[in-house]
């Protein structure tokens, strides 16, 4: 499974409060959540995200709250891949279970926003800024959940 797109680059320790402030919880449609995606970083960030199918971050992306809107708002905004040096446990689970590919890449180099990024989840590599980096491939169980369209798709099957 291969995904590519233009990257929006964030720093380290971008937690769930910054990705999606609690006051917008209760909105159930990802397309409507998208208006608030990244808004904890400042009011200009939801617009900045537009046109970027890849979110790139540093260490510990998505720490703190369990709120999955931090993930689904990204999906609603058109993000199709998240790459970070490291993920919080809940953010990572919410990505997988909502069908958003998430790859951890400890040695990810510093990138500029707008850089094209391609990743292969099963083969375990990321291509960005002219270099190809090996990353741990997603375990088949988790890849299966993503390819099936998320955990809840199993209930409908």
């Amino acid at each position: 499974m291969r995904v590519s797109g233009s990257a929006l680059v964030l720093g380290d320790d971008i937690n769930a409060d910054l990705l999606y402030p609690a006051r917008y919880m209760g909105i159930t449609q990802p397309e409507r959540q998208a208006a608030h995606a990244l808004s904890g970083l400042g009011p200009e960030w939801p617009a900045r995200l537009a046109g970027h199918a890849v979110l790139v971050a540093g260490e510990n992306l998505g720490g703190g709250s369990a709120r999955e809107e931090a993930v689904t708002a990204l999906l609603g905004a058109g993000v199709r891949l998240v790459v970070a040096r490291g993920f919080s446990r809940l953010f990572f689970r919410n990505c997988i279970n909502n069908g958003l590919p998430a790859l951890a890449c400890a040695g990810l180099p510093a990138l500029d926003s707008g850089t094209p990024v391609t990743a292969d989840l099963a083969e375990g590599w990321i291509e960005a800024g002219g270099a190809r980096l090996a990353v741990p491939a997603l375990p088949p169980e988790l890849l299966g959940i993503i390819q099936g369209g998320g955990l809840l798709a199993r209930l409908r099957a």
Binding site: A16, L18, G40, N60, S65, R67
Partner: protein, 404 residues
């Protein structure tokens, strides 16, 4: 033999598990707070789920926006009530009953050795009584409500050895902040913490809850204090990934801003405008007593407001009976209904531009309690009270030494 997490998760999976194993587990409980109830119902409906197989394992807490402050949230509460009735889920904790994690321990909803999920990250709090508690997102919560099961990876464990005794004026919160400084906000990601050592026996349930609560601020999946007299037990040959030894007698009152955790003296006594005493981290009767001991016979500094939000109705009742509430109110505090209160900036007690709050909570991201241009300093209940009296971030020991 195995870690506490391995013992509990093996029972929940029905087969022996070791750290690193991926397994399907059957939790004893799966809860959801009100900030996720709308999304949970939406997911179940969209997935075509019409029957919940184990309503007795489920439970809902109206704590984050209770009483509701918007029509949208009031509607989520109302639809939630109807939904739970239809599905035979009897455990609904209403507006004013308190925060989920507090109620779970205080009312004995969860027991040592059990596995409990809750769509809230601070579910690690339940480890205070030896229950493996961890957070889930709304989608996976819906999956557990529909099937009774979920996938999980068994975490490796960091053994945290606590030695010595806390000095007067130093609290469990200061242990958490010292650990946060030592380990960092991601240092325990995907791991469990196990608290051991000579100091643990002397820690109250309230203190243990504070320790386990803030484990998630280090990224931990769960935190466990071995129960005093129940299974699971610490095994001498369990394998730990890492050991951290902390001498409690060397600790002093601490505070935290985003990315900065340090002893109070290092902050240079910044002025504060709001003090907040409450939350699942530090809103228990023990915390209110500590604040009252400092506020007794004193007044809040001019221009400072202090909000007191009991973590549960039982905490509020105890504070009323013991005269703690009278002390707090006479000092000038504002009492709010039990629940999450100002913690997540959802209703009541928001911060304005340029303001600074000292809070007994666990999170301080810019904008969490209102304005992005406001600072949230995390500290112990005693520090919150001392700072409210002085009008600046203040070491509580200064006010303890000099009688009011």
């Amino acid at each position: 033999m195995t870690t506490l997490s391995e013992q509990i998760l093996s029972r929940a999976a029905g087969r022996p598990l070791r750290a690193g194993d991926m397994a399907e587990v059957t939790p004893d409980h799966c809860f959801v707070p009100d900030d996720t109830i709308a999304l949970l119902m939406h997911h179940l409906e969209r997935a075509g789920v019409t029957r919940l197989p184990h309503p007795e394992r489920l439970g809902v807490f109206y704590d984050h926006f209770a009483p509701a402050e918007t029509v949208e949230h009031a509607t989520a509460h109302a639809e939630g009530r109807r939904f739970l009735k239809r599905h035979g889920v009897s455990r609904l904790f209403e507006v004013g009953e308190g925060i989920s994690h507090q109620i779970c321990v205080e009312q004995g909803l969860v027991r040592p050795g059990e596995l409990a999920f809750n769509a809230d990250s601070h579910t690690t709090t339940l480890g205070a009584i030896g229950c493996f508690g961890t957070g889930l997102g709304a989608t996976e919560t819906a999956y557990v409500w529909a099937t009774g099961r979920i996938w999980l990876r068994v975490p490796t464990t960091i053994r945290v050895v606590l030695e010595g005794a806390l000095a007067p004026g130093v609290a469990a919160k200061d242990i958490c902040l010292a650990l946060l400084r030592l380990v960092g906000p991601a240092g325990a990601t995907y791991r469990a913490l196990e608290f051991q050592g000579g100091a643990v026996a002397a820690l109250s349930v309230a203190q243990r809850m504070t320790l386990c609560n803030m484990a998630v601020e280090l990224g931990a999946k769960a935190a466990l204090v071995p129960p005093d007299s129940a299974w699971p037990r610490v095994s001498p040959d369990a394998v730990y990934e890492r050991e951290i030894v902390l001498d409690l007698s060397a600790l002093e009152p601490m505070a935290a801003l985003p990315g900065r955790v340090a002893p109070i003296a290092d902050f240079g006594a910044p002025e504060i405008h709001q003090a907040f005493l409450g939350t699942c981290t530090n809103g228990r009767i023990e915390d209110l007593r500590e604040a009252a001991a400092i506020l007794a016979g004193r007044r809040l500094a001019p221009g400072v407001r202090m909000l007191v939000t009991p973590a549960s109705r039982a905490v509020q009742s105890a504070a009323l009976r013991e005269g703690v509430l009278a002390t707090l109110l006479e000092a000038g505090c504002v009492l709010t209904p039990p629940g999450c209160g100002a913690c997540a900036g959802l209703h009541m007690g928001l911060l304005g531009d340029g303001e600074r709050c000292v809070s007994s909570g666990s999170r301080n991201a810019p904008g969490r309690m209102g304005s992005r241009a406001a600072d949230i300093l995390l500290a112990s209940p005693a520090t919150v009270a001392a700072s409210a009296v002085a009008g600046r971030l203040t070491d509580p020991r200064l006010l303890m030494e000099s009688p009011a």
